[in-house]
């Protein structure tokens, strides 16, 4: 795993990060040492604004571990962030596809996770 120059929630920091390619201009969410679209190593870590739009949702009612079962039901969401990538996160159970959302952070099964709420 490539370590991000900008710490984010995957290492316990309250931030969502993404990468921008200096060669093709593309953006990607999963961190790598290169751009998956064009292969260029000219890739930079950036902090995302935390704003986005809900792409899909699924309310998990049956969890598979003791730790996650304590949180049931929890809403897994895919959010298209303003910077052009898609990410998975948690969110309010009332979120609907197309909702404009903003991120905060919460603890889930012993780890910090991004949690989206509707922007009113």
């Amino acid at each position: 795993m490539t370590v991000s120059s900008v710490p984010d929630w995957t290492s316990g920091h309250e931030a969502v990060t993404y990468q921008v390619c200096g060669s093709c201009g593309g953006s990607q969410y999963f961190r790598r040492a290169f751009c998956a679209a064009c292969g260029s190593a000219d890739i930079a870590d950036r902090q995302a604004s935390g704003e986005g739009t809900v792409y899909a949702t699924s309310l998990v009612c049956r969890a598979a571990t003791e730790q996650t079962r304590a949180h049931v039901p929890y809403n897994i969401v895919l959010v298209d962030i303003a910077e052009g990538c898609r990410m998975m996160a948690h969110g309010d159970a009332t979120l609907a596809i197309g909702d404009t959302v903003s991120v905060r952070f919460t603890q889930f099964a012993g780890q910090l996770v991004p949690y989206f709420e509707k922007v009113r």
Partner: protein, 378 residues
């Protein structure tokens, strides 16, 4: 050329006390006997994986256990698409003259060999270890996400999805080897426990013990002649977060390539065997393969189009949803049933005409796709 010369399938459900190797052996023995061959005539083995008994050399472990010394053997892993991916590889290896009789086999005691939690947990690992798994998604949740989006874009309802569960159960009732033997209704599906909404318990395939096998040969070994007409794959992503939008998923790409390879049109197809891990999987794949228009697959189920006596009989053994899902063997059962239908041996499930069949497998979260056409030759 290559022919599916023999098939073998155990009942799915509970096989307490049977190991993965036991179930593989049982299915393999059935397939080899069905092909009219002796074990010593098998010169190639392809096998899937076992989540209960993982091994870095499963095909060789099986070969030793089963008592054969093949000249070609290894395992294949592309999730739910593994069965058809192995059929495709067997076809090409046999066609190229590398192997004469390829045994394709898989089996797993997934239900009694481990807890349901362990199964769900093992399968959830198809998710991204850093960006997805820590969020606690399950396989039903990955597909629940896809379902929510598909329903949103194409006006599909939960009642629509329930139709697929009802149809698969109806078909399973005619197969003594199926895991489930009680009829269900749309109301039952709607009232079943929420798992990962919009998916409920009866929208999900079960976890099963079972085994399946088939033999792919260069020449027919008997009267039954079922030929691989053409096949193709497409792999667009692994993780649902990285999946393309719905209009760009892999099933459409794979089927377009397979049609070209086979020189066949969907209008030529008489029988369909389509991966159905969840009701949404089946609904989406039918529409992407061109067996129904977007958002209209459920209407076709209601009108009887996919029923045993309909225009396009579908998964007449009950599919993953009701025959059961023991891992790689689960989707191999679709091919076994197809071969039985094409050779007129499906007993009370026999359809009028299964002369040309379309099979499709999906692995991961609509990540890996294999489309295949089989035809009966006289």
């Amino acid at each position: 050329m290559s022919f599916i010369t023999g098939v073998g399938l155990t009942p799915f459900g509970k096989h307490a006390g049977s190991s993965s190797l036991d179930l593989m052996s049982r299915a393999a023995e059935l397939a080899i006997t069905d092909a009219g061959l002796r074990r010593a005539e098998i010169d190639g083995i392809l096998c899937g994986y076992s989540t209960v008994s993982p091994h870095i050399m499963l095909a060789i472990v099986f070969a030793e256990h089963f008592g054969i010394t093949p000249s070609y053997a290894h395992a294949v892993q592309v999730g739910g698409a593994t069965g058809l991916a192995m059929a495709m590889l067997a076809h090409h290896l046999v066609d190229a003259g590398v192997v004469r009789h390829m045994l394709v086999v898989s089996g797993e005691n997934r239900l009694t060999g481990q807890s349901r939690d362990a199964s769900i947990l093992a399968l959830a690992q198809v998710g991204h270890p850093v960006y997805e798994v820590p969020l606690g998604p399950t396989i039903p949740a990955y597909y629940g996400l896809v379902a929510s989006r598909y329903m949103h874009e194409f006006n599909v309802t939960q009642e629509d999805l329930a139709e697929f569960a009802v149809l698969m159960r109806q078909h399973a009732l005619a197969h003594p080897g199926a895991q489930f033997h009680d009829a269900i209704t749309v109301t039952d599906v709607m009232a079943s426990k929420p798992v990962a909404l919009p998916l409920k318990l009866l929208d999900c395939c079960p976890v099963s013990d079972g085994g399946a096998a088939f033999v792919v040969s260069r020449e027919p070994t008997g009267q039954d002649r079922v030929r691989v007409r053409g096949c193709a794959q497409a792999h667009t992503h692994q993780h649902v977060t990285a999946a393309p939008n719905l209009s760009e998923l892999g099933a459409e790409i794979a089927i377009a390539r397979a049609k070209k390879a086979a020189g066949i049109a969907i209008s030529d197809v008489r029988y369909a065997a389509v991966y159905d891990s969840f009701t949404i999987t089946l609904a989406m794949l039918l529409e992407e393969l061109g067996l129904a228009k977007r958002g209209e697959a459920a209407a076709r189920v209601r009108s009887g189009y996919f029923s045993r006596d309909g225009e396009m009989p579908l998964n007449t053994h009950g599919g993953l949803l009701s025959y059961g899902h023991c891992g790689v063997g689960g989707a191999m059962a679709h091919l076994v049933e197809t071969q039985l239908q094409m050779t007129g041996r499906a007993e009370q499930r026999q359809v009028r005409d299964a002369s040309v069949a379309l099979l499709h497998g999906d692995g991961g979260v609509l990540s890996s796709h294999v489309s295949m056409f089989l035809e009966r030759v006289r």
